[in-house]
């Protein structure tokens, strides 16, 4: 079965030292006033649209991007026609109605896509030119963007021109915001403040310029197939994210800390010279010309990064000169001194190192999309600086917490920019930068250290929605550190999330990664494991609706009378679970192939049109290969495809087996009931939903099916050809995609009604956790560990999770789950608000068990008055 950690005897938990090691500080670190003020400021800051990068990049490229006067004029006219058609389509989609001018719109769109192809052809994209253009544009943005140092900050570096800013990227797919732009500040989901000038500039200058130059403009031409484009837009069978930009990657911050960008520039220059030697009096080949262009672009980027640090230094000196408060003046001067060193030169102190990382983070976001740009194993990277500072008497643990808190605050300022329809799939406004703590060293021994704990203490002071804090756990993890993790979780907020080295490291090695690198994994974004600094994992590339594939398998590929998938035998012709799973596999394969075709086209457009030279300087392998990260320059290349709705497929297969394959229920009747969303069949729906074993209840058959379905998905994803010469890797997670896809998925044999959310990650469906967290975890432990992460979400009552008893329970769950092969778990500690929601909507919360000393009851079975009493009790604690 290949999952080595399944037998718990292999993990000797009993041998662990039960005595928590001492905390890194003797005295508890009380609330630090600076962090409290920073936190208050961040929480009070309005959410705003940032158009700075868009404006500056357009300013520059308008001057230098080669013109085609005739085509440009055609494109401007085309843009206006396109914009009005798109707005009309969005309006009708919002009203849930078919476009009244359907045929005409379709014709217009077809014409539009032909025009797009014309632009693309006419340019004959030359990567070497694009690389230089993009590097120069980045240099222009870094040289002119507004530098903003905020009150109380000890670490500076703004990613956007707003305190809480959502940068728009017209070079990628910023134009998708066209429909939302007019009412962005008043839309119902995640409104963002805008100024009329911003909107006008986007509509009249920026979008028209990028209309035929963006990834979004060129990708359809490369995808080609109109049906596939429609399918992409629909977001029912799969959804792809990379059109929004390059993201979900962990740059090599360690390299910048070691070498500085000056050192990186020297490396680039050395590589350039060796390449010139190779070319050797002959004319360079086309490939070599591209390599030279890549190195030139990298050199421009590295130099721009050095200049950017100097700009900051100058700015801070000016701020210090104008500062009346003596203490703040000193702080600003100290920061100026720090910026005289980093990011150009190697960092020497913790403060310098943290400042360098934030500046790199800020610079990368002038090039790339803000989604899952992660930090890696900061407790490992930063430990030498911390220890040196401590030894030299430059730093106290409390000051370190203050610096780390400032760092966490900086990492919380970005908002993803999403058009309203996508918000269904990824709501919550997290740009999902991950920090990873703990785990093992290259030799397999425990890596957690005093800095790991200080990060948690700093998080506890900040408690912002991001960055995501991830903790790697293994059988030899320091008990004191784990206890601190569990206490932090018990205080709510859902962080940190826990990852099992015993499950993840072997999973990475199965994908061909060597043990040393596998042991160095960190979490990209939410839950995706990858090797930091040397991979381009594109971990959030896409999501695939597993429940939709099952719908197709039940109906032989037909949906609403239309052949959507390949012709497989429909349910009445299926006899066994294996038949059904085979049909599911074939439907899934077809969806995956289309998703990979479209994703491959998007990735190629990135490489040809919108390479990312700055990112390429901080991903190991790109300079050595003289190949951009988008073109496969990284040492490790993967793209993540996440399966959505695992629990729904498992429950459905189990239900079909129990009722249809047993002969108890005619397949036609089931299909008719599903088609009608159980209209007139509510008893059947109830029976399917509540009277059959479910994934999450530790039912053996559901466990087998979970393993089988997940394995099919992992295998089928692994078969797909990869555009950067790497591999597609499977994940089971998806922000809120389970809701977006659920709303586009019909009723299922699991008893789930049409349009309801699908299961989240590898979590059981809502209502299937009635046997408690251990049963849910046992079910989840049956899912084999895929290459690209998975999410197991557990709700815990705060009364259970608080305090030392709660911490022990949380850790007991984590370790018990990991001992059975589980890979990831995160906790939601429920508060009285949830109980109130349960009161208002009992159907969705019927598995909410309240436990009070000696007995238990379903919350929803309690009388109203007793529920109120319980809510009050929870509030008081």
């Amino acid at each position: 079965m290949g999952h080595t950690a399944r037998q718990m005897d292999q993990l000797d938990y009993a041998a662990l030292n039960p005595v928590p090691s001492p905390m890194p500080v003797d005295e508890p670190i009380g609330p630090l006033p600076r962090l409290q003020r920073l936190r208050a400021d961040l929480l009070a800051a309005p959410y705003e649209l940032c158009t700075q990068k868009a404006e500056l990049m357009t300013d520059y490229l308008q001057r230098v991007w080669p013109r085609r006067p005739l085509l440009d004029r055609l494109a401007r006219w085309h843009y206006r026609a396109y914009a009005s058609t798109l707005l009309a389509m969005d309006r009708s989609a919002d009203q849930g109605a078919a476009d009244p001018r359907g045929a005409k719109t379709a014709l217009a769109l077809t014409a539009s896509s032909w025009l797009m192809r014309l632009y693309c052809r006419s340019w004959r994209l030359e990567p070497q030119r694009q690389m230089r253009l993009m590097a120069e544009a980045l240099r222009h943005v870094l040289g002119h963007m507004e530098l903003r140092a905020y009150d109380h900050e000890l670490i500076v570096g703004n990613c956007s021109s707003r305190r809480m800013g959502a940068p728009i990227h017209p070079d990628f797919a910023g134009m998708l915001m066209l429909g939302d732009l007019a009412d962005l500040s008043t839309r119902s989901v995640n409104p963002l403040a805008t100024t009329p000038a911003q909107v006008k500039d986007l509509q009249e200058r920026i979008f028209p310029f990028w209309f035929n130059r963006s990834v979004m403009a060129h990708a359809p031409g490369w995808i080609g197939d109109q049906r596939l484009l429609l399918e992409m837009k629909e977001g029912r069978s799969f959804a792809l994210s990379q059109i929004a930009g390059i993201s979900h990657v962990t740059p090599d911050h360690g390299k910048v800390l070691r070498l500085g960008f000056a050192g990186i520039a020297a490396e680039i220059e050395a590589r350039r010279r060796s390449l010139l030697d190779e070319i050797d009096r002959g004319r360079p080949s086309r490939g070599q010309r591209e390599q030279l262009a890549m190195l030139d672009a990298s050199a421009i980027s590295a130099q721009a990064a050095c200049d950017y640090g100097r700009r900051w230094r100058q700015h801070l000196l000016e701020l210090a000169a104008g500062e009346s408060d003596a203490q703040r003046r000193a702080e600003l001067s100290e920061l100026a001194d720090i910026l005289a060193v980093v990011p150009e030169h190697p960092a020497r102190t913790l403060h310098q190192a943290l400042q360098s990382i934030i500046l790199v983070h800020a610079m990368l976001h002038q090039e790339n999309f803000q989604h899952g740009m992660s930090f890696g194993r900061l407790d490992q990277l930063l430990l030498p600086y911390y220890r040196d500072d401590l030894a030299a008497g430059r730093l106290t643990p409390a000051r370190a917490v203050e610096l780390l808190g400032c760092f966490l605050g900086k990492a919380a300022e970005l908002l993803p920019l999403l058009f309203s329809r996508v918000t269904e799939y990824v709501s919550g406004l997290s740009s999902a930068s991950g920090i990873t703590l703990g785990g093992v060293l290259a030799d397999g021994t425990d890596a957690s250290n005093e800095l790991s704990s200080l990060f948690l203490l700093a998080y506890d002071q900040m408690r912002l929605r991001q960055p995501n804090i991830h903790v790697r756990v293994h059988s030899g993890s320091d008990p004191g550190f784990l206890d601190l993790c569990a206490r932090t979780v018990g205080r709510g907020g859902g962080m940190p999330a826990f990852f099992s080295d015993e499950a993840v490291v072997p999973a990475l090695m199965r994908d061909g990664i060597d043990p040393t690198r596998a042991r160095d994994y960190s979490i990209v974004g939410c839950a995706e494991w990858g090797v930091p600094g040397c991979s381009f994992p594109a971990a959030g590339a896409g999501t695939v609706n597993l429940a939709h594939c099952l719908e197709l398998a039940l109906r032989g590929g037909m949906l609403n009378g239309e052949a959507v998938g390949p012709a497989t035998p429909p349910l009445p012709q299926l006899r066994t679970v294996d038949d059904l799973l085979q049909a599911f596999r074939l439907q899934l394969r077809a969806v995956l192939e289309r998703a990979a075709t479209a994703n491959g086209a998007i990735e190629r457009v990135h490489a040809l049109l919108r390479p990312t030279p700055l990112l390429s300087t901080v991903i190991e392998g790109c300079v050595a290969r003289a190949r951009d990260v988008t073109a496969g320059g990284a040492d490790i290349n993967t793209s993540g495809l996440q399966g959505i709705g695992l629990a729904d497929v498992v429950d459905s297969v189990v239900a079909v087996e129990a009722l249809v394959f047993s002969g108890e229920l005619e397949p036609e009747r089931l299909l008719a009931a599903l088609d009608d969303d159980f209209a007139g069949e509510s008893e059947l729906a109830e029976r399917l939903r509540w009277r059959l074993p479910k994934y999450g209840e530790d039912d053996p058959r559901s466990g087998e099916m979970a393993a089988a379905v997940a394995r099919i998905y992992i295998e089928e994803v692994g078969r797909l050809p990869h555009p950067r010469g790497g591999r597609y890797v499977a994940g089971f997670w998806g922000m809120t995609t389970h809701q977006g896809m659920g709303s586009r998925t019909g009723a299922l044999p699991s008893g789930r009604r049409a349009g309801r959310p699908l299961g989240n990650g590898i979590s059981p469906q809502i209502g299937s956790e009635s046997r408690g967290p251990t049963a849910a975890l046992n079910s989840a432990a049956r899912v084999p560990t895929p290459g690209n992460g998975m999410v197991m979400n557990l709700k815990l009552n705060p009364a259970l999770a608080n305090g030392s008893g709660g911490a022990a329970a949380v850790l007991g769950l984590v370790r018990g789950y990991f001992a059975q092969g589980g890979a990831q778990v995160q906790f939601n500690v429920i508060d009285s608000q949830t109980l109130r929601a349960a009161q208002a909507d009992p159907a969705s919360y019927r598995d909410l068990v309240v436990r009070i000393s000696g007995y238990s009851a379903y919350f929803c079975d309690l009388t109203r008055a007793m529920q109120d009493e319980l809510i009050d009790r929870t509030m008081h604690g």
Partner: protein, 303 residues
């Protein structure tokens, strides 16, 4: 119980996994059905009768379904009326839960073979190991099913599971004796002090209980004595003094006091039991109760 029947089955009304308040660590608590006491404040009224019985949750009942009405052979059901179940007619035959699509009607109590129940308990063994937890036998009165426990407990012990018994001690000692070698800990619940009080509140015989308590104390078992404090019933000074006196007699110096919660009363509406809601007054003065016990030489903590 029949002597040496080839298949001994246990009657269980709930198996609660991830139980954190019934002993150390993460535990699976098995609630055995059937009890020899009838405490007026019993928080698990569905645990009393030693047979499976029907229970109804009106909040789950589907409007316009009424499948149950059509199958009831005794015409005892009217789910959408003020008296959903006519308990005088119902004989708990189990036909209506079999057709109820939503689980509003369900049978409380099912029979397990020792192997089946052991397997269910061992499903969480990994969490017992990771948290120092185990299995708690609760009820009802688990010891009443001693022959079944004699078959079950060795299966758990073989796997190194920590076993804790919660008991009220109201049974013949020969039922308890064979279990003792398997028990890692015992929570012994005293309900009241003197004979009259014990009989008044629980319908049981205090002498019997105290005899068993004294024997357990003499066996050097890992013993914790507990007492639910029900305001206005067993919280008065004379009851507490009598409890203290008895503890001293058996050489015990401490007791864990359990606060009383009224939330269980919600269950009554769906059960055939004749138990009535208590509608109790305010919380007792915890310090005063502890003080009274202290004055009689017994240290106490609230659990």
């Amino acid at each position: 119980m029949a002597e040496e029947s080839p298949r001994v089955e246990g009657l269980v009304f709930d198996v609660q996994r991830f139980s954190l308040h019934d002993g150390p660590g993460i535990r699976t608590t098995v609630f055995f059905k059937g009890c020899s006491l009838r405490c007026r404040w019993c928080q698990n009224p569905e645990s009393l009768r030693p047979v499976p019985e029907l229970m109804f949750s009106s909040s789950r009942c589907l409007p316009d379904c009424r499948l149950c009405e059509s199958v009831c052979p005794r015409d005892a059901l009217a789910p959408w009326s003020t008296t959903p179940i006519d308990w005088d007619r119902c004989d708990h035959c189990g036909q209506c839960p079999a057709v109820c699509p939503s689980g509003a009607l369900r049978m409380v109590g099912r029979y397990y073979s020792p192997e089946e129940l052991a397997e269910l308990c061992l499903a969480d063994r990994s969490y017992f190991v990771s948290s120092g937890g185990g299995v708690t036998l609760s009820g009802g009165e688990p010891v009443l099913q001693s022959p079944f426990l004699q078959a079950l407990l060795p299966l758990l012990k073989q796997q190194g599971v920590h076993i804790l018994l919660q008991t009220a001690g109201h049974y013949a000692r020969r039922m308890l004796e064979p279990l003792l070698p398997f028990l890692d800990a015992v929570y012994f619940d005293l309900k009241a002090g003197n004979d009259a009080g014990y009989r008044q509140w629980t319908g049981g015989d205090a002498a019997h209980v105290l005899d068993n308590l004294a024997w357990l104390a003499g066996q050097a078992a890992n013993l914790t004595v507990r007492m639910p404090i029900v305001p206005g019933m067993n919280s008065d000074r004379s009851t507490l003094a009598a409890v203290a006196q008895q503890l001293r007699t058996v050489g015990f110096g401490e007791i864990t006091l359990l606060p009383y919660h009224a939330l269980w009363e919600a269950k009554l509406a769906g059960l055939c039991t004749a138990q009535a809601p208590l509608n109790l007054a305010a919380e007792p003065d915890r310090d005063e109760i502890m003080g009274t016990l202290q004055a009689h030489g017994i240290a106490s903590t609230w659990g």
